[in-house]
Amino acid sequence: MRPLEDELRQALRRREPPPGFTGRVLARVRREADARALENGGGRAQVARRPLWTGWSWFGARVRFGFAAVAAALLLAVALSVWQRHRAEQERRQGEAARAQVMEALRITRAQLNHVRAKVEAATDDGQRERLED
């Protein structure tokens, strides 16, 4: 048997990857390059390695930033409007509830007053009748 080091050299010889490996690597590189090119606003695969702050990539980034800012402002305006409408509706409902409560209180008060007046009138009638009889 050979020395361990020789056995290791023999056992750890380089191996070729499975068939089609190169094609798979290139396909993956191409996919990544295309994805990056799209992210950077289009262009060829080489654009993927170009720094963001140079040339058309930088222009594309500025345009995208502008669009994003406008979209954010629009979204904010819509959200504010919806919130204001919601708040107005809430205030209207609270007002209506308060008005209903006041009306109910008035109705109860009126009923109580009618009741008291009826009793007073009855008492007044009884006193007059007794004086007449005397």
Partner: protein, 201 residues
């Protein structure tokens, strides 16, 4: 993935890892690839794929995952081609990236290998049966080493690198490599002696 073929007729590919063409040709290929020439990049992949794949294969003991990290290493190479200064730098860079990818992959996946190295048929018709058995034992024993020691052994015996080169790739002191390798070889020797009998130093 089901195949992890043994080296082709081109023989081993150690040292600087470069096999075909003159240095000037390889430098030109590198420059063309950095300029976006996919044919040149393909040539680079073909030249170094066995080194990258084998490092992953022996480290992970799994041909499927080895292909994944090899693809990842070449993808990173493509993204960093403009930083590569020379063919020698390219080989060193690829070894470093493969080591990092392999260690990340081994931390990520603790499950059983999808295609274990022992399960992969090797077209080693010239090897006698006992050598094949010994090789399988050695693969399993190397795979059982701790990750750092494992990569040291692979870089030392697959790539035939010296201690300083291994230390640079793994970003550790040379003495760490020296002691790590000595310890790993001791462990391998003991285990292998128990399994297959006497191994001479």
């Amino acid at each position: 993935m089901s195949v992890c073929e043994i080296e082709g007729p081109g023989g081993t590919n150690r040292g600087n890892g470069v096999r075909d063409g003159t240095r000037e040709e390889r430098q030109t290929t590198l420059e063309r690839a950095a300029a976006g020439d996919t044919v040149a990049f393909e040539a680079i992949v073909r030249e170094h794929q066995s080194m990258v794949f084998s490092l992953g294969c022996y480290f992970l003991h799994d041909a499927g995952r080895a292909e994944e990290i090899a693809q990842e290493a070449f993808l990173r190479l493509y993204q960093n081609l403009d930083r590569i200064e020379s063919p020698e730098h390219l080989v060193q860079w690829l070894r470093q990236v493969t080591w990092r990818c392999a260690i990340d992959e081994s931390r990520r996946a603790t499950n059983k290998p999808s295609v274990a190295l022992e399960d992969v048929p090797e077209p080693a018709a010239d090897d006698p049966p006992d050598d094949v058995l010994l090789k399988h034992h050695l693969h399993a024993l190397v795979a059982s080493l701790p990750p750092r020691a494992r990569m040291m052994v692979i870089l030392r015996f697959q790539e035939d690198l010296n201690l300083a080169e291994i230390a640079e790739i793994m970003s550790v002191p040379v003495n760490t490599v020296k002691s790590g390798l000595a310890r790993a070889l001791g462990v391998l020797r003991n285990k292998l002696t128990r399994v297959v009998g006497d191994i001479r130093v």
